[in-house]
Structures are given as C-alpha cells and as structure tokens.
Symmetry: D2
Subunit: 337 residues, 4 copies
Amino acid sequence: MPTVAILGATGYTAVEVIKLLLGHPDVKITALTTRQEGSPRIGAVHPSLYGRLDLPVENLTPAQAAERAEFAFCALPHGASMAAVPDLLAGGCKVVDLSADYRLSDPAVYEEWYGLVHTDPTRLGTTVYGLPELWAERIAGKELVASPGCYTSTSILGLAPLLAGGFIEPTGIIIDAKSGVSGAGRTPKLTTLYPECNESISAYNVGRHRHTPEIEQVLSEACGHKVEVLFTPHLVPMDRGILCTMYGTLTREASEDDLLAAIREYYRGKPFIRVVEHLPATKDVAHTNFCDITVRKVRDRLIVLACTDNLIKGAAGVAVQNFNLMAGFPETRGLLP
Amino acid sequence: MPTVAILGATGYTAVEVIKLLLGHPDVKITALTTRQEGSPRIGAVHPSLYGRLDLPVENLTPAQAAERAEFAFCALPHGASMAAVPDLLAGGCKVVDLSADYRLSDPAVYEEWYGLVHTDPTRLGTTVYGLPELWAERIAGKELVASPGCYTSTSILGLAPLLAGGFIEPTGIIIDAKSGVSGAGRTPKLTTLYPECNESISAYNVGRHRHTPEIEQVLSEACGHKVEVLFTPHLVPMDRGILCTMYGTLTREASEDDLLAAIREYYRGKPFIRVVEHLPATKDVAHTNFCDITVRKVRDRLIVLACTDNLIKGAAGVAVQNFNLMAGFPETRGLLP
Amino acid sequence: MPTVAILGATGYTAVEVIKLLLGHPDVKITALTTRQEGSPRIGAVHPSLYGRLDLPVENLTPAQAAERAEFAFCALPHGASMAAVPDLLAGGCKVVDLSADYRLSDPAVYEEWYGLVHTDPTRLGTTVYGLPELWAERIAGKELVASPGCYTSTSILGLAPLLAGGFIEPTGIIIDAKSGVSGAGRTPKLTTLYPECNESISAYNVGRHRHTPEIEQVLSEACGHKVEVLFTPHLVPMDRGILCTMYGTLTREASEDDLLAAIREYYRGKPFIRVVEHLPATKDVAHTNFCDITVRKVRDRLIVLACTDNLIKGAAGVAVQNFNLMAGFPETRGLLP
Amino acid sequence: MPTVAILGATGYTAVEVIKLLLGHPDVKITALTTRQEGSPRIGAVHPSLYGRLDLPVENLTPAQAAERAEFAFCALPHGASMAAVPDLLAGGCKVVDLSADYRLSDPAVYEEWYGLVHTDPTRLGTTVYGLPELWAERIAGKELVASPGCYTSTSILGLAPLLAGGFIEPTGIIIDAKSGVSGAGRTPKLTTLYPECNESISAYNVGRHRHTPEIEQVLSEACGHKVEVLFTPHLVPMDRGILCTMYGTLTREASEDDLLAAIREYYRGKPFIRVVEHLPATKDVAHTNFCDITVRKVRDRLIVLACTDNLIKGAAGVAVQNFNLMAGFPETRGLLP
C-alpha cells in the first residue's frame, strides 16, 4: 500500500485531499507538513478531521517528507512548490503538484504572469499536465504531474470538445467564471473576510487572471491550433463551486443536439464528466469529482456551461485521480463507489 | 402633499416602495392593496414595517384605489398590471407601473415574450419608459410611466454611454448578468427555496429571458441604431443585487481613460450614477439607488461592469425617482439626503 | 446483497439516503417511490444524482414496494408513514422509518402533539427507538425501527451521559437549538423561501415543538427517571447542521475534566461520537455521521454543546446505521471508510 | 450646525455612523481618522461611500481631531479609546465613545475582563451609560457618553422591564445570544474568514464573554438589586443582527399578556422599541435602530426574545441617538423620518 505525504496540510485543498485519501482503500497517509512551527495534531488544525487521522503537522523539509512517503501531494503556494519538488523527486518520492509551478510549458510565460523567475525551468515543458479526461495515458506511471487549477479545469473541460470538433471559432471566446470563496485560500485577508464578500458579487483581476495562459496553452494543444480567451473571474458568496459560462461563435451549422452529441462522444467512458440537458448548478457537483456540462445555442452563438467543485474536481479530486493513474490504480478509486 | 396607493403590497418590491415613501417628506400613503382576502395590517404582512405604517392591506379594485390616492405604484405581476392601469387612469390617478406591461412599444413583441395578448395595446409605444438618467424630461408631469426592470436598468445604464458614443459594435454584445434571489419574487417555489439556491450558482432562461427585448429596444433608441444583445441571467445566493458583466467589441482606438471619461460625460449631473475606477461590488450599492459603473479594455474588447440593488435602483428606487419627476419634486427626494 | 426501497424519494432526506447507499458495498437500491405522478428519473428530480442511479421515481403502493425490496427506508411525512408501514411489514419488508410516527410510545401523546389519531397504535411502545449509541443491541435484527429526529438525536446524545451519570438535575434543562433550513423540508413555503430566511435568525414553535416529548421520553428512559426540558428551536441561514446549546444545573461538584471523562466513558467504542475539548461548529460535522460534543462549567451550571448534520446523523446517516444493525452489517458500513 | 469627527473610520461601525450622519440634517462631518498612514479618501476605504463624502481618512491625533470638530464619535478598539478620550475632552470636543472603555464603573472589573490597566480610571463610575431607553435624561447635555455594546443593549432591553417589574428571578438568567459576523470587526482573522464561518454555527467565549459584567452592571442598576446572568454568544453566518433568547424563572403568576403589557408600559413613548406578539427575526430590524421584543411563557419559565441590528441599534444607531440627546436634538433625528 503506497505511503503518502501531504505538503501544505493547513490549507483548504489539503484537508480535502486528506478526506479523500481516508476513503481510499489502497493508501496510507504517513506525513503532513507545514512551514509553521509547533507540530499540532491535524485534528486541531482542521477540527473536521478530529479523531479521523492521528498525525501531527510537522515542519519537515522536502527531503524528510520523501523519506516518509512514496508519493507526495504538494498543496503549496506557487513559488514554494518549485522549491520543494526537486528535493522530493531526488528523494525518490513521486509528486502530484497542485500548485501552478509546473503547469505552464514556458518559463518566460511563468515569469510574466507569476512575477517570479522559475527555479526549476528544465522541468517546464516536459512535465505532464494532469487533466485525465484529456491525457490519462500520458499521466500513467509518471513521477511528476502538474495537477490543473480550478478555473482551468472547468473551462477546458467545457470548451475542449467543441474546439477539438471545430465547432467554435478559436479566438474571441469569452469565459465568464464564478467561484466560491474557498478558491481564495485560507490565509486571512480583507477581501475574503465574511462581511466583505457575503451578500455580494464582484469581478476581480479582469483580463489579467493567472489562469488565462494556462487555459490558452492547454486548449491550444487539445485542439491543435492557437486558442485565445478572455477570462473574467467573479467571487460568489458561497463556500465552493465554480460555474463557467462560456461564449463562442459557431463555425458551422449545428443543432444543440449535435453539439451535445459531440461533447458526449468526446468524453465517452470518462466517469467524472456528466453531459446534461438541464442548466447545471454548482450545488449538483458540490463535494464530488464530477464536472457537469451542457451547451445552448442562440442565433450563431454557443453558450457552454460547465461546473465543478473547485476544491474537488478543481483541486483535491483531480489530484487523487492523477495519483491513481500514476500509481496504477483505477482512475475512480477513492472518488466513486 | 400627494396621496399614494401601492397595488400589490405583499411583495418584495412593494415593501421597498413603502420604506422609501415613509422617508419621503412630501407624500402620504393612503391605500395598500392585495388580491388576497382578510385585510391584515401591513405590519403583519411585512414584520419589518411593524409600527411604522398603520394601514390594512385591502382587496380593493383599481377604481377604489383611485378614489383614495392621486398616485399609484403598481407593483403587480405582468398581466395583472395592464388589467388595473386603465381603471386607475380613468379614476384620475397617475401611475408608476413597475411591471413589464407598458415597457415594450410593440404589442406583438409583448405577446411573443409574455405569452399574453395585451389588453391595453394603444398605450404601448406612447407610454414613457421611465429611465430618468436617459429621459428625465420625457417623464416630467406624465400620467403613466413604465418603470424599468432590474436587469434592464443595470444593463442599459452600463452600455448606453459607450453605444451612444459609438465606441462599441452594436451587435454581438454579451450581457452576463448575476442577480440576487429577491428578484424572483415572494411567491414560494422550489427554485428559490433556501436549500435549493443557497451555496449554488446557476444560469437560467439562457437566451430567452424576457428582459432581452426590453434591453434591445431601449438601447436601440438610446443610440439611434439597432442593438442586439445576448443576455444570460444567473441566480446568485444573496438577497439583493445585480451585477452585469458586459462584453463588447471596440469600434475604434480608445483608452480606458477615454472610455471612463465618455461615461462620466454622458451622466454629468445624474445623482445616482457613480462612475468608478475600481471593480464594483453589489454590496457597495445595496439598499441604495446608486448604479456603479466601470469599464476595462482587454485587447480590442471592452468589459463594462455595472451593478445596482435590484429592489431599489432596479425597482422601488427608480419608481420613486419617476414619481418625483411626475409630481414635480426633485429627482432625489426621499432617495438621497 | 439486500435490496432496498426508498419511500418518499423526492425529499432532502431521501437524496442523502440514496447517496449513502450508493457508497454502501452491500446493498442494492431497487425502488424509489413518490406520491406524485409521472415517473421521472431520479436524476431529473435530484440533479446531483444524474448519472449515478438509473431508476424512476414511481407512484408505488407500499405493497408494490415490498415486492421489490427486502428493506424499506420510509422518508415520508408523519401521518403518511403510519399508513405505509403496516403494508410494508405485511409484505415481508423490513422498515427503517424516518418519520415521527413510531417514535413515541403513547398514542395519546402522539395525538396531542401531531394532531392525528394514530392508525397503527399497537406498534407504539413496542417499536425500537433507533438511537444506536444508546440501544444498538435492541436494534439488531429488528423488522421495524423508528429512526430518531434531528433535534432529538443531537439533544439526547449531548445530555444522556451526564443525566445517566447523575451530574445534571433532570428538570429545568434548557435546550436552545439552532438548525439549518434543510430541516424544514423541500416543500416550498414562505418561511423557507430564500429571501425570507437568509441573513436572519429567529426562533419558532417556542415551547411547543414536536420533538419535545420525544426528547423527554428517551432521556427519561436513558437515565431512569423523569426528565423535563424546555426546547427552543431556531432557524439559522445555512443549509445543514444542528447545534444544541444545553443548560443544566450540576447536582454535585465536578470539574470539566470529570464531565468530559464521563461523556467519553459513556460513548467508549461508539464510532460516531467525538468528545472534543474545543467548542464544536456544525461545519466540522457537515456531510458526516459524527456528533461532536463538549461541556463547559460556569459556576454551578453546565453547558453541553452538541452538533450534528441534521440530514446525516440527524436523519439519513442514523437510518443507514440502523439498517446496518438490522441487516447484520457492521454499524459503520457505508458511513465510515 | 455641529461639526463631527469620527475616530477609527475604517471599521464597520464607523461606516454606519457616517451613513447615518449623512442623512442627519443638522450635522457636518469634518474629520475622519485612522492610525494607518496614507490619507486615502473615505470612498476608497469604503466603496459604498464613493461619491457621498469627500474627505480623507487621516492619521490625526485626538487633539488635532478636537480642533476640527465639536463632537467626536470614537469608534476605536478598547484600550485605544481611553488613550484618546481625555485629549478630545481637553480639546473641548464632546465624545460619544463606542468602545467598552467607559462602560464599566469599576476599574478593577475592567482590568479583570479586558486585561488592561485603565489609564483614565477617574472617569469610570461617573461617565453616563448611553442606553437612552433607560436613561435619556442622564445623557442630555453630557460631554462624554459611553455608548453600549451590541450584545449588551439587546440583552438589557429585553430583560430590564421584567426585572424592574419583579417578574423574573434576578439570578439564574440564561442569555443565549446569536450574532452576525460583522460584530467581530473588520480586521482579517481566521475565525471570520468566509469559508470558516459560512454554513456553520458555533458558540464562542462560553461563560467568559466581556459583555457579561456590562450586562450585569446595567441590569442590576436598572432593577435595583444584583442580577446574575449566564451569557453564551454564538456566531451566525449572516452579516448583521443579534438575537438574544433569554430564559428566566417567573417569580409570580402572570400571563403572557400581563408580561407583554408590562414591557409595553416600560417603553411607553420610546420610539425605537417595538413590543411585538410574533417571534421576531433579525431581518425585521436590519438596517434600522429598532429593537423588537416579545415574551413567551412555558410552565413557570419566561422566554424573552429580543433582536437588533448589531451595527445600528447595537453600535452606530444608538451612538447617534446619544449624540442627539447630548446636542439637544430630538432623539430620532437622522434615525427615523
């Protein structure tokens, strides 16, 4: 049974990874790390885990973590992850990296959007992007996988089939995305203080959110030509959930049924994609690894709607899905009964 | 001091009209109507009004209401309003109609979108559309004004200046709108039951919401040529507030500063429009008659963001604003100190 | 593998039963019933189940349901349940009843609090009350178990150890209970419409909530003498969760540590009770079958705090726990990894 | 027209004071202070004030503030207020202090509960406690008034009439209080981060909340003998509102009507108290200076329910009410039409 370490165990993503792995029959959690001091029990850090996992959260180096576990889930902020991953790999530990550090293929693009010089640039461009619905066979057996972001997954899963099928113009695509507040992380700040964001909706980072180049890079590769999107994220007063409302221009005549059929065909045999006829709500996928997708046609415009739980399919769930593929388990192990 | 009746006093819009009028120094509420029986006190229907207004909610005919008041605020559902307004006017009562019944200029368009034959068609096309920021002078002194809808006002206020200024292509405009739940009214139904819509966001009526023709009609008139929009409403888990994120294509080179300056110039002297540099949040305008607007430019695209309180600027507040203009009061009376 | 029917499949409790049973390795769902017509797929009634269970929701008689399944979960309203249970049992189907119909031991008390003459009175007083933490051995192998209510379970689990240990005066106990809105069911009504209960807290049914006699009956039996409580429920703007803040008078000197130790001892070996030192929050137990309990002492007063997820430990989870005991499975099957 | 300074202008209470004063016809805001640097416009600190007040928020000393204004609203944290108030008074500025620093009459009690030596102890015991419903005549014309806390006001307003009337035993009173999150202030911290407190309810500071001695002191004075309460605050997922559910023992036979009549008589002529028959909800008083109160009797127990808006009647509203009395204006000026 593989042993697993979780780096950055105090955050929202980590607690979801832990819960999923506690329900995974073939894995044993052996280390939890933080950069804070004090080694509290995990049940004191996340009271929902009280009595469910008897481990401290320790300030371990990546090398120490690698001694304790065969696999590591890196739930660290960007920048911190690229400082840890080389040591984990050097220690013989396979890594699912949940940060943005290994997702982009070009260090210059990383530097432009994240404002940091990449310290492990040779792994960019060679690290597999962990979106199993597109590239499960690439992920299988790998030592390092870059697990995708929440906005990114939801956008790509919605758009890839119709772009790959040539139904949508690859430029001029608008992604109007709405996210629950947990996506902003567990570090206290004014913008995510309850009385600030409750009972309110607003856009942020208009035209300059860091998931934009990631979406364009993956969609371009998925459909074989350059894709350009305008991405607008919004903060919605709810804990979890992402809805992407995506607007594109039809390239040729097609009915809604044609479009739904194309999406269904693209995802045939993919257990976590539900192509639905109704308009999906984030609540329908909350606490699951599902992505619900539908499409509407209005005149010559397509509206693709896709939603996920940002903490599960958008983070912890897809990470476990990637782990399963890396470790040789069925993709759904620990994620579906 | 003008006497005022409120028709349809049990709904969310009516309670806001009442609260605004209680703070209006020059008006006296003399009748409240409902189609339900029993004549409860208004404080029993809306506990927030307990002790603030000592009137029953009565099942009065429009003619009876007209005997009691010089002005009527019609907060009735569409269909019910066009059945009441002719009798109110015949009784000598001036009317601010908050329903959709008198907003469209073409009875055929009304029938197409509302599924009802209009029973007072001769007033369509001649009734003033009550958006004071565009047409205050038309509203002054009128006997009947069609007060606009919440999605409509927010969309139009955001887009009109840049369309009128020729900055945006008039077709291909996308309005991605997000509304709080009070916009769906006070009649219990599954979709707005707390556990259904809490902690969830979803789109509804994609491509076929009834505010679409109203937005197109008013914008077309405001800018002098045909405007076509794709309108997608979403339900957001909050009580009140509308945010419209609107996407258009620039027709010519212009900086964000140029665009903000054009919007400011268009609304010079309009007390309820705040053209802001930051990204507006619905919370900033909650419980006020303000509409906050800004614009961003990304490549050749414009993103206009506008928000209002759907119950105030989107319903009760603009209705009082119209009343002020009809009755000869300053536009801000009862709405701003 | 036992076959299972769920009666009343359109409600909030039923959907949780279904999700738990989908994760239960030893059970097969074979029938879903409703009193509505049309036989929609369950995925159309509850979109979160789309693609997860391919069954219609049918208007079956209890006898028809009994032909399809060896066990039935009755998630019907009170009154409806006692009309169905006799036929289910007559058809050879074992029943976990989630309604209040078989919880009280005295038909007169039932009639007084529910306003209905009990139509199956001989089963009152003989049906086992399904609170496994108190009476697991009674439940094992039974044909009918009355699964407890949400307020009831939480209150009893918090108070029983200290009452049984003689630490608290058995009268004068105050239970100030706070519940999420899903506890009020899925039938649209004004009080649970989103804009009515969002951003608000209020008490309801003060001094006359129907769970009062159930709490008193079970606590009296659990501690061997008559217990009297004052129960005040409140509606809290959240989907799920119950917190009971319970006030009693100490009968003798005891420290907080003594009290915590007494509670821990009482629940030794009970997998779903977590006796914690911190003040528990409903979020910590959301979507789980846990009940978190702690106690504080202020002068000669005890404050017991207990919380559960009203839909899981307060309804669907405890029902599955009872099913496990009835069917001979480990208590935790399908509820804990 | 009195000039007014607001100290601590970046917090939630201050923004409410500012909004109320903008609607007050007889006051002019002339200074806003903060201990932060940079002098931003108030509309940048609180976007809801954009365009409504053209003043910077400046790092002024109390003496500088006193030069700018005849009155000061001190919305500073405890500790900071007692450092500022002496200089304000020395500068000739009258002060409404919204902190806890001048509410208690005994410096030793202050030190015990707040962990600070009081640096202005001679004013304790002589400063008027600003609860106008009890002591309006004491407040009139004063130079310094200690405006009460939110939990405190709500508890006292509910209990004072029945304690003063001798209906309730003065000891053994339980106050189970529920508050919206804005009561915890605008400084980012983990406990009030949106994903922590949303969809959850929990108690905090059980048996040791700092409002306890304030409640006991004021109630004891109001009814003429020592009152002892057990106070348990809870955090509720909503922006604003406090509900206190208060349990006491009847001292003599009295009906609910008797009790309601006693409360009504106690508050005769008090414009902000609404004694209601229904169970009050915090939403009914949101954004108002009202306190809604009712009472229920169950056996020999009384349950008093009282609710306020913690930011208005519990902070900014009562402060303006106190200001009105100090300045010689009608109590309701700026608070009711």
